[in-house]
């Protein structure tokens, strides 16, 4: 018996439709569970109070502050390094063996899983450089981890700037650096910001690389050499050690909502960047 190809065609169409909505359904369910279960426990006190009794009572303020410190400092270090690398790769060289090697390095860094960043940060920053479990060790590890994302997205953004803008700038006798800083970068900024926001999202949700470098002290870190914990680490410890399901759901809500907002902002910027030159 031969099945009518038109019938198969219809069937596949319906099947793929269902499949796509099933997959989006998973996302909706995940977010819905976190929101409904976490909502009753999140209030002003939960966000601004200090935790007591390992996190059973009180809020999560130190972990929110710890997350912000870690992410801001990592971005501060990774952005100039990453954007600088992207400028070098796109504006200052032609494709050569040298750029191929650098690209290979960036690709390889992007493929390394976060637990190996944790392992490296632990042995290099925490043990060999004697930083101990500290904000500084966490920041340096996360900086290396997010660098490939920033380099790649910045490179794409800079490449998308039309050639004509550069030619006009040169014809007005601007130097290369003047062209880059005054013409190319301003046009590429939405794309670069997208990469930065995506990196922020990744760093906020990171656990494996943070827990072995920044540690998991419940105190608010007041110097670079203090240990501290991020929201993701706090959530992990609450959930894994069964300290408090209520506080775990509350922390998950704050964590997931902040990551979703950051990523949505990133996509908004990306669309702005795309619509600019197409």
């Amino acid at each position: 018996m031969r099945i009518n190809p038109r019938f198969t065609n219809k069937l596949v169409h319906i099947g793929l439709n269902l499949q796509a909505f099933f997959t989006v359904g998973i996302l909706v369910i995940i977010v819905a569970i976190i929101c409904f279960k976490g909502f009753p426990y999140v209030n002003f006190e939960f966000i601004f109070a200090y935790p007591q009794d390992m996190g059973r009572i009180g809020g999560i303020f130190p972990s929110i502050a710890g997350t912000i410190f870690l992410v801001l400092l990592s971005i501060l270090l990774a952005t100039p390094l990453g954007v600088g690398t992207a400028i070098f790769l796109t504006e200052y060289t032609k494709e050569s063996v040298f750029t191929k090697i650098i690209r290979f390095g960036v690709e390889s860094l992007a493929g390394i899983p976060s637990i190996l960043y944790g392992l490296f940060g632990f042995i290099f920053f925490v043990i060999k450089l004697k930083m101990g479990w500290s904000l500084l060790a966490g920041v340096l590890t996360i900086t290396i981890m997010i660098l490939p994302t920033i380099i790649r997205t910045s490179e794409e953004a800079i490449k998308a700037v039309p050639r004509n803008l550069r030619i006009v700038s040169y014809s007005l006798s601007a130097t290369k650096w003047e062209t880059v800083t005054k013409v190319v970068l301003p046009s590429a900024i939405p794309g670069i910001l997208t990469g930065i926001m995506l990196s922020v999202g990744r760093a906020v949700g990171e656990t494996a690389a943070v827990i072995f470098t920044m540690g998991s002290s419940l105190r608010l870190p007041t110097s670079l050499f203090d240990s501290g914990r991020t929201m993701a680490v706090h959530f992990y410890i609450l959930a894994r050690e069964g300290i408090s399901m209520e506080k775990a759901y509350g922390t998950a809500l704050v964590l997931v909502v902040s990551i979703l907002l950051i990523n949505i902002l990133a996509y908004y910027l990306m669309n702005k960047a795309i619509s600019r030159y197409s």
């Binding site: 190809p5 065609n9 596949v12 169409h13 099947g15 793929l16 499949q19 796509a20 997959t23 989006v24 996302l27 995940i30 976190i34 100039p80 390094l81 600088g84 690398t85 070098f88 200052y92 090697i101 650098i102 690709e107 390889s108 860094l109 493929g111 390394i112 899983p113 976060s114 637990i115 190996l116 960043y117 944790g118 392992l119 490296f120 632990f122 042995i123 290099f124 660098l147 130097t175 290369k176 650096w177 906020v204 949700g205 990171e206 656990t207 494996a208 072995f212 959530f235 992990y236 959930a239 775990a248 998950a252 964590l255 997931v256 990551i259 979703l260 950051i262 990523n263 949505i264 996509y267």
Partner: protein, 285 residues
């Protein structure tokens, strides 16, 4: 110095070269320190006793990680069995069937899946998937099956976005040619577009594998972490990543070196997977 534009240009260029080299330096440091700590044990205990050894009792001098290597590949394979068909069909739907408005909504929504942290996946796995497996299928619930389901969902964004790109890069003329010959839409996709996008689709599967094999926090929460090769999909297991994450905080001496040896094996596997995937992506473009 700043008054002389030529000097300034030269200065800027050198600074940028140093920035660009920093990525290579970091990669070098990561390899050097993980290998530096991990390799001595291979020399002391023997490569065979570590990679093919069955017993992991680091405080008693046994560093066998064979069951973990097998387990890592099992969860990766399980994730692929679940994630690859789902991801590929989503990519086909997005590229060939969905309207422009639908695409504008679906693609970012699916990519947001990638932003949800792995601890949250692990937690939801423990609270929802593990009890379902325990009550309806059997075993303790902490199992290869539960881990594969969660990892399968986690690798979806990787598979979808890379397969989507490679399907979109198939020239329009291929589609038009096939449709003009009287083929249906599905015949065109199945016989023309998918074969043309083959290498990119394979690359997306391999990158998905890389993500699954490197995943840590979700896995240690759901896998049960038992030190043996699972004999059914309902058995608990411990992966290479789980081994490192579970014991690094308190390990000392040779025990810690054993965890770095585990890291060396993981790093080598990941580098091989990435190399193969990059090869596939480059062939496409």
């Amino acid at each position: 110095m700043t008054n002389n534009p030529i000097r300034k240009e030269r200065f800027v260029k050198w600074v940028l070269v140093v920035f660009a080299l920093s990525s290579l330096l970091f990669l070098f440091l990561i390899f050097m320190f993980i290998f530096f700590e991990g390799l001595p044990l291979f020399h002391k205990v023997g490569l065979k006793n570590i990679i093919l050894g069955f017993k992991w009792a680091p405080t008693k001098g046994f560093f066998g990680i064979f069951p973990m290597i097998v387990s890592s590949f099992l969860v990766t394979f399980g994730a692929l069995v679940i994630g690859a068909p789902m991801g590929l069909s989503c990519a086909i739907y997005l590229s060939e069937y969905s309207g422009k408005k639908m695409k504008m909504f679906l693609k970012p929504a699916l990519e947001l899946l990638a932003g949800i942290p792995s601890v949250v996946y692990g937690f939801l796995g423990v609270v929802y998937i593990v009890p379902i497996v325990r009550d309806h299928i059997g075993g303790s619930g902490f199992s290869l099956l539960a881990t594969s389901i969660i990892l399968g969902i986690m690798i979806l964004p990787t598979i979808i976005s890379i397969s989507f790109d490679s399907i979109m890069s198939v020239p329009k003329t291929y589609r038009e040619g096939s449709l003009a010959m009287g083929a249906t839409k599905w015949q065109t996709i199945y016989k023309v577009i998918l074969p043309a996008a083959r290498s990119g689709i394979l690359a997306s599967f391999i990158l998905g594998m890389g993500r699954a094999i490197g995943e840590t926090m979700a896995v240690i929460m759901i896998a049960g972490n038992a030190l043996k090769i699972p004999s059914s999909i309902l058995d608990p297991l411990r992966t290479l990543t789980g081994n490192i994450a579970l014991e690094l905080a308190y390990a000392t001496g040779d025990h810690r070196l054993g965890l770095f040896s585990t890291g060396v094996v993981l790093l080598v596997i990941i580098m091989i997977l990435n190399y193969i995937a990059n090869f596939g992506i480059k062939r496409r473009t």
